[in-house]
């Protein structure tokens, strides 16, 4: 393979040009791997977050009703499915919290602490205090950490919750940090207390269900819809819009990635054309020595392709470093769903992008190589 030997010497003979070509492709590879990783990280976080921080199935009131009245019956119906781990009737409403001169709008969740803990893992998120105190204390509340800070509320302080004409005084017995945007509005109350504040009697606004198998949610939701008149919805349906949005976004992303590769492809082609124009005379001499057009093409396609693997490797390394760096940057949880952006670097992504980079190098080399092969030997030798 004299073609390979020549290609190799050409590359070693143009270190600067080659370096910039490799860098351009490496950057493209790096950027694409990181972007794919970020999208994937966002999707994984979103699903984890949805699965961890919201019920897997939510049952809401009948079509023409505002509240669920027979929630105990509904809850026990739900518990009949073997996959159902917890079924927590919850009263979720808005109110205003006032402590000293500070007033904040809040969302309170009234629920049975045992079922609610099974549903949401509330006790894991407690910063201090015990959520189970709500089982025995009627006028007690667990407050989101950001809300407590906004209200300047300390442990054991009494504060006032007001909803329309009703108002109650409760004691902050715990602070919770769920790690989501909810922390600035969330208040847990005992179910009785919440019902008192609402003043609609013994009602809830939803029954939250947790499953041992999250993939069973759509089937169970649809069964509940058939058996009862309540409206049951799985977590998949609830987050369908955002999941669809991610899918749509991925189509645009792919077009974007393709454009990045095309741009770096032009970079490679440009370098190859430069190399070939500097080597025109040499190409003529090779032709005089009997190298045919296929050999000349091979030389320059090889040159382009040889640059692929180092570009892909370097790009992979850059992506890895960038991913580590991005992982250390804190982002506001109100905007994103987590406090840190996660880049999911799947080995498959590296392989996929690397293969694509090689393909780009190959394609970008073809046209210049073809032009080189079509050179007229007499003219090529005569060039200065």
């Amino acid at each position: 393979m004299f073609e390979l030997a020549i290609a190799e010497r050409h590359i070693l003979g143009n270190p600067k040009m080659v370096l910039f070509t490799v860098l351009s492709v490496a950057l493209a590879v790096g950027v694409i791997v990181v972007l794919i990783g970020l999208t994937e990280g966002y999707r994984v976080n979103l699903i984890e977050n949805t699965v961890e921080n919201s019920p897997h199935v939510t049952v809401e009131p009948k079509e023409d009703e505002d509240y669920i009245y027979l929630y105990r019956t509904l809850s026990s119906i739900a518990l009949a499915w073997p996959e159902v781990v917890a079924s927590s009737p919850r009263l979720i409403e808005r109110a205003a919290a006032k402590y000293k001169d500070n007033v904040e709008g809040v969302v309170f969740i009234g629920a049975d602490p045992v079922q609610e803990d099974l549903l949401m893992g509330v006790r894991e998120d407690m910063v201090w205090g015990d959520y189970y105190e709500l089982r025995f204390k009627r006028f007690a509340a667990v407050v989101g950490d950001d809300l407590a800070e906004d209200l300047e509320l300390k442990r054991g302080d009494d504060f006032r919750l007001t909803r329309q004409d009703k108002s109650i005084q409760v004691k902050a017995v715990g602070i919770i940090d769920t790690g989501t945007g909810l922390d600035s509005t969330l208040i847990y109350l005992p179910l009785d207390t919440a019902q008192d504040l609402l003043g609609e009697g013994d009602v809830v606004t939803e029954v939250g269900i947790r499953l041992s198998d999250i993939d069973a949610a759509p089937a169970i939701a649809s069964d509940l819809n058939n058996i009862t008149l309540y409206r049951a919805e799985s977590w998949q349906e609830k987050s369908r819009d955002i999941l669809e949005q991610i899918d749509t976004q991925q189509i645009y992303s792919r077009i974007f990635y393709l454009l990045i590769f095309i741009i770096s492809g032009f970079g490679i082609a440009n370098t190859m054309i430069m190399i070939i124009s500097r080597r025109t005379k040499e190409i003529g001499i090779l032709m005089a020595m009997g190298a045919d057009q296929i050999s000349i093409m091979k030389i320059f396609v090889l040159e382009s392709v040889i640059l692929g693997p180092p570009s892909a490797l370097l790009g992979g390394g850059l992506a890895y470093l960038a991913a580590k760096l991005i992982g250390t940057v804190e982002v506001p949880a109100e905007v994103y769903i987590t406090t840190r952006m996660t880049v999911v670097l799947d080995p498959g992504t590296f392989v996929y992008v690397a293969v694509f980079a090689l393909l780009v190098n190959f394609l970008a080399g073809i046209y210049p190589a073809y032009k080189a092969a079509k050179l007229d030997p007499v003219e090529a030798i005569a060039t200065e």
Binding site: H10, I285, M289, G290, D292, I381
Partner: protein
């Protein structure tokens, strides 16, 4: 002696619009083992004729027969194969590949021919020793003098044992001493291997050492002189310019 090349009514016209006749119905027969020189003013068609014989260029009309085979309309692949097997080129400038050392440069036509690396290397070393560069095998072109590079180029032209060696001003860029040395080298190889040499030159001293001199003017052979005996040049046809 057998004819190695027969050229019949060879014509080459360049340009679209304004036509330039580079070769005007040239007839020429070259015998095997002959050392032929082509002289003439610049633009007389010497290089064009040489490029035709070297299968680098194609004629507008006429025929070229190489070893009995009409190659006038041969495909690019066939021409490349013939250049590799039958022809060796020496240019005015050595035109060695700058990134390769002397041995590698001489090996190149052999590798193009598909010869095994080891065998090609052995033959290249043998040739470099033949041209007196046995000590400079691993030097790259920029580490050798002009004369030395030209000798490497001669070794490269001869590597594939071509039946015809073509030289376009092979000594045009060298001083008299190096020039004589190259010519003596070519002559020695010609005697050893009975290869045919076709040289384009401005150097009349060198031309007069060859077996036959062709003078080209305006694309026509206007004068042909053949050596007879020792140092005698007889004039056969010499049309008035």
């Amino acid at each position: 002696m057998t004819n190695i090349i027969e050229i019949k009514k060879l014509r080459k016209v360049y340009g679209d619009g304004v036509e330039l006749v580079a070769l005007d119905d040239v007839d020429l027969t070259i015998e095997e083992g002959e050392v032929l020189s082509i002289v003439g003013p610049s633009g007389s068609g010497k290089s064009t004729l040489l490029n035709m014989i070297g299968l680098l260029d194609t004629p507008t009309s006429g025929e070229i027969v190489l070893k009995g085979q009409n190659i006038t309309r041969a495909s690019p692949e066939e021409r490349a194969r013939l250049r590799n097997k039958e022809l060796g080129f020496i240019f005015q400038f050595h035109h060695l590949l700058p990134e390769f050392n002397a041995v590698e440069n001489v090996m190149m036509p052999l590798l193009i021919a598909g010869m095994d690396r080891k065998e090609a290397r052995e033959r290249a070393i043998g040739l470099l020793e033949e041209v007196g560069l046995g000590e400079r095998l691993n030097n790259k072109p920029n580490q050798l003098s002009g004369g030395q590079n030209q000798r490497v180029a001669v070794a490269r032209a001869l590597a594939g044992h071509p039946s015809i060696v073509i030289g376009d001003e092979p000594t045009g860029n060298l001083d008299t001493k190096s020039s004589d040395m190259i010519y003596e080298l070519l002559r020695k190889l010609n005697r050893q291997m009975n290869q045919t040499f076709i040289l384009v030159t401005h150097d009349m001293d060198m031309a007069e050492k060859t077996d036959r001199i062709l003078r080209l003017v305006d694309g026509r052979i206007v004068c042909e002189m053949r050596r007879e005996g020792d140092g005698f040049v007889s004039q056969e046809i010499c049309r008035a310019d």
